[in-house]
């Protein structure tokens, strides 16, 4: 407390500094925040709109936790506080008149954020891309903005800084919103399909249980799901100017209408104004638009304030005739027709490689074993910054001509290992040992080991004891139903360069190999991770995201190059590339949309 007092005294003397771009932690919350009060002069305000009492890690006492509060980082609040400080002649942080200033500024400036919701007429309508674009545009206009998707079904997930699991796409949207550290609030329910219509439910970042479709809607949703959604919407609305929400699938699935918490019910809880997005690629888009709106219940239909026709290949041509008629029939304005934008951003789930055997057009062929329950395959996207074609391999003969092999993550290591044996990919991969690089990530790393033990049937009861590929001397055991979700940063041991990534796995491995990374963990201290056999070009790790920073990607690419290749080009940081593509997307969206209309309808006329 003493330390905070001194800091606040300095802050009072220094005055309004705006965003502190020189600070290594900037932006601690979001791009555009006001940093003048890095330490809050109101602490502890004890206002439950802004924070909560929390038990300390030791469990011995309760402290006021307002780590996610953004109120004191608003420009208008900071300006007002300094004005009052000057007027009242306050110099000391413990001046009791701060209580009055807090009350006044809360009355003036605190209001719940506005919710905008993007709904799709189908899956893959372009909802998440449009949420991404809106987040970036609003943040550029100086607002604090957060994405939100109540329920997301995806096998691509990420660990937050505090170790909760959220979907990859909300993490990306947070990047667009300028949010430094995404929290589980942006995606409080994550469904990870395990096969046979059963999904693992991750609730508020933590594994909750496995449900089939019926059980999910009859048990989880009414007993827990609806509360979770409401709680997290409230949390975000109390903190951000705008909450940009994403629906799931279509809101007009009339057979499950009342059970659906991902669409109109979430909109109602958030009092959101909604945009309906229709993908034009397959045709029939006018029918999808009209049918979707008209099948909604009347109270929900009123929330649809605008329509976007998305992903048009070719010219707008006579389409205006159609969109005008839809506007007239529904009484809802069409915000614009967005052309197909050539943007390189990670895509969600199997959509991105349905029917596809490869992505990219580079010279080097990186073969990825297309495991039936492949997960976190966005790990591989950064490779497309290089001269690489990613080939999805389902049969041994597909491996011919590969320059490297990657065994990716999986939702079910043991059943996918068994699949590899059934189709003969186990022996096929082993036959490339020492010839080309073989890299295993997470589940793929476990598969490359000697033995995999699951005596209690936690990963898969059908395979209590399996032999792995034996490429690495590691042994993995699933002894309890617990999942490790943690962000990591550290060094790539062979070159000493920085790497970042995150672990998301069940099962623990014991390794007799030389490690690949040296992790410097904030929570756990330093430790070694992964397995490395540079002579045989074999590597394995639990870290997802290892190709994002240049360090390991550059090393990996150097193993692929022939002596007579020209010098490999400098590797770029994937994060920067993603950021550039978000800008490109936001610009393309802005150009296609009637932004005046958008501001009037969704931002309360704010510019």
């Amino acid at each position: 407390m003493r330390c905070i007092t001194n800091k606040v005294r300095e802050e009072i003397a220094r005055g309004n500094i705006g965003s502190d771009l020189s600070c290594p932690y900037h932006p601690s919350h979001y791009r555009g925040q006001n940093c003048s009060f890095c330490y809050c002069p109101f602490y502890p305000c004890n206002d439950t709109d802004l924070g909560a009492l929390k038990t300390t890690r030791k469990g011995d006492r309760e402290v006021w936790d307002c780590s996610s509060c953004l109120f004191i980082h608003r420009n208008d609040v900071v300006e007002y506080v300094f004005k009052r400080i000057r007027e009242l002649g306050i110099t000391e942080p413990d001046d009791p008149r701060f209580e009055d200033i807090f009350r006044e500024s809360k009355e003036r400036f605190f209001k719940k954020g506005k919710a905008i919701m993007v709904l799709g007429a189908t899956s893959d309508a372009g909802k998440s891309i449009i949420v991404t674009a809106i987040c970036r545009l609003l943040n550029e206009r100086g607002y604090s903005v957060t994405p939100f998707k109540s329920q997301n079904m995806s096998l691509n997930s990420r660990a937050t800084r505090t170790g909760e699991e959220i979907s990859m796409i909300q993490d990306l949207q947070c990047k667009a919103a300028g949010i430094r550290s995404p929290s589980y609030h942006v995606n409080p329910i994550l469904l990870k399909p395990k096969g046979d219509c059963v999904s693992q439910v991750i609730a508020e970042g933590v594994p909750y249980g496995d449900y089939d479709v019926k059980g999910y809607y009859s048990d989880f949703v009414p007993n827990k799901g609806a509360d979770i959604v409401r709680r997290n919407i409230d949390f975000l609305k109390n903190r951000y100017d705008f909450v940009v929400m994403e629906g799931a699938g279509s809101p007009a699935e009339i057979n499950i209408y009342d059970m659906d918490i991902a669409n109109m019910r979430a909109a109602e809880m958030a009092d959101a104004d909604c945009i309906l997005v229709i993908n034009m690629e397959w045709g029939g888009s006018f029918a999808y638009a009209l049918g979707t709106v008209e099948l909604l219940k009347e109270k929900d239909r009123k929330r649809i304030k605008g329509i976007i026709f998305n992903n048009l290949y070719g010219k707008t041509g006579g389409l205006k005739e159609g969109t005008n008629r839809i506007e007239k029939m529904l009484g809802i304005p069409v915000l614009g027709i967005v052309p197909h934008l050539d943007i390189k951003l990670p895509k969600e789930d199997s959509e991105c490689f349905r029917d596809k055997d490869s992505v990219g057009t580079g010279k080097k062929v990186v073969s990825v074993i297309r495991l039936p329950r492949i997960a976190n395959f966005t790990d591989l996207d950064p490779l497309l910054l290089e001269d690489v074609t990613i080939r999805y391999v389902r049969r041994p003969e597909d491996l011919q001509g590969s320059d490297a092999i990657i065994i990716p993550g999986t939702k079910n290591t043991l059943s996918d290992l068994n699949w590899m044996k059934t189709v003969g990919l186990d022996k096929a991969v082993i036959s490339y040992k020492g010839k080309i690089p073989i890299v295993g990530i997470c589940g793929g790393y476990q598969i490359m080991g000697k033995r995999l033990l699951d005596p209690n049937g936690i990963e898969d009861a059908d395979f209590p004891d399996s032999d792995g590929l034996g490429l690495l001397d590691i042994e993995t055991t699933w002894s309890e139903y617990s999942k490790r979700t943690i962000q990591q940063h550290g060094k790539f041991i062979l070159t000493g360069e920085d790497v970042t990534g995150y672990e998301l796995h069940m099962g623990k491995s014991v390794s007799g190999e030389r490690p690949l990374f040296h992790i410097e963990s904030f929570v756990e201290g330093d430790f070694d991770e992964g397995a490395s056999r540079p002579d045989e070009k074999i590597f394995g790790t639990y870290l997802h995201g290892i190709f994002e920073k240049p360090a390991f990607r550059r090393y990996f690419m150097s193993m692929l190059s022939d002596e007579n290749d020209p010098k490999p080009r400098e590797c770029t940081d994937y994060d920067e590339d993603v950021n550039l593509n978000i800008d490109k997307l936001a610009k393309g969206f802005e150009k296609a949309i009637d932004m005046d209309l958008f501001e009037r309808l969704f931002m309360g006329g704010k510019k």
Binding site: V213, N255, G283, G291, E294
Partner: protein, 278 residues
């Protein structure tokens, strides 16, 4: 008998379903002829008498146990790049159409009707396949493959929706709604295609669509992986046929699948719709 399958969008599985019905009904002893008035495709087949038709109709003919003839697809539109489309009429090139230009609709419709009449006369049942969505508001006036033919020849219509992408009820209802009221009496039934899981979960939605539109529910077709050649520049399924005798491989695959959908389709309703003038 006669029937037209219209899709709520491209790639909803019309071509495959027509092939399955051709197979199923010809096995029941009917003489079936597939028909598609106008086809936009780069994959074509040359008939025994040297005319060019869409590949989809050739496979549908084989499914029906007959040889493909030009009358099954009188108009074939082949995109030749930069928006230019080559029009093949009755198996032979007619003209290259520049972007923004359109061939004479009434001429094309006459040709389509003539070919259709011939197919109808020579069969127990013609199963027509529409093209894309029938309610592209900017194209409806010259869309000879869909409602123009239906109205001209009084053909009952079944709408196909694809549930894999979601929003299938909205797609079927929206399509019905955008057909002008005076023409809705042609719309007799609907089919939900590509469903995974237990179809009982769909019941309440299906009932609601029946009540709202008066169309009859004909069935829910499970997701299938038919090995079919590419059509319409849209993916038909994940597998493509390779090897020497693609036709017999296709037929074998089709037989396997059609036995699987026998129970999913209400053939009584299907035949009743096909037998009555709308």
């Amino acid at each position: 008998m006669k029937l037209m399958l219209l899709g709520t969008a491209s790639g909803v599985g019309k071509t495959t379903l027509v092939a399955l019905f051709c197979r199923g009904l010809s096995k029941k002893g009917l003489k079936v002829i597939p028909f598609k008035g106008s086809n936009l495709s780069l994959n074509s087949y040359v008939t025994a008498s040297g005319e060019e038709i869409g590949m989809g109709q050739a496979f549908q003919a084989w499914a029906a146990g007959i040889e493909p003839t030009v009358g099954m697809n009188p108009i074939l539109m082949k995109p030749s790049g930069k928006g230019v489309i080559q029009v093949i009429l009755n198996g032979h090139p007619l003209a290259d159409i520049s972007p923004g230009c359109h061939p004479d609709t009434s001429l094309l419709l006459d040709e389509v009707c003539r070919a259709y009449d011939n197919a109808h006369y020579n069969s127990d049942i013609v199963i027509c396949e529409g093209s894309g969505s029938p309610v592209e508001l900017n194209l409806m006036g010259r869309d000879v493959a869909n409602m123009l033919l239906v109205k001209k020849r009084n053909i009952p219509v079944v709408i196909i929706g694809d549930i894999e992408r979601g929003g299938v009820f909205a797609a079927i209802y929206g399509t019905w709604r955008l057909i002008p009221e005076k023409d809705r009496h042609f719309l007799k039934g609907f089919i939900i295609n590509r469903f995974r899981g237990d179809p009982s979960i769909l019941k309440s939605g299906i009932d609601m669509i029946e009540t709202l539109t008066g169309m009859k529910y004909i069935g829910t077709v499970p997701y299938m992986d038919l090995k079919f050649p590419e059509e319409d520049s849209m993916p038909m399924g994940s597998g493509k046929l390779k090897g020497e005798d693609a036709v017999s491989a296709f037929i074998a695959n089709l037989d396997e699948l059609s036995s699987g959908i026998e129970d999913s389709i209400d053939y009584d309703t299907f035949r009743r719709i096909a037998s009555e003038d709308p």
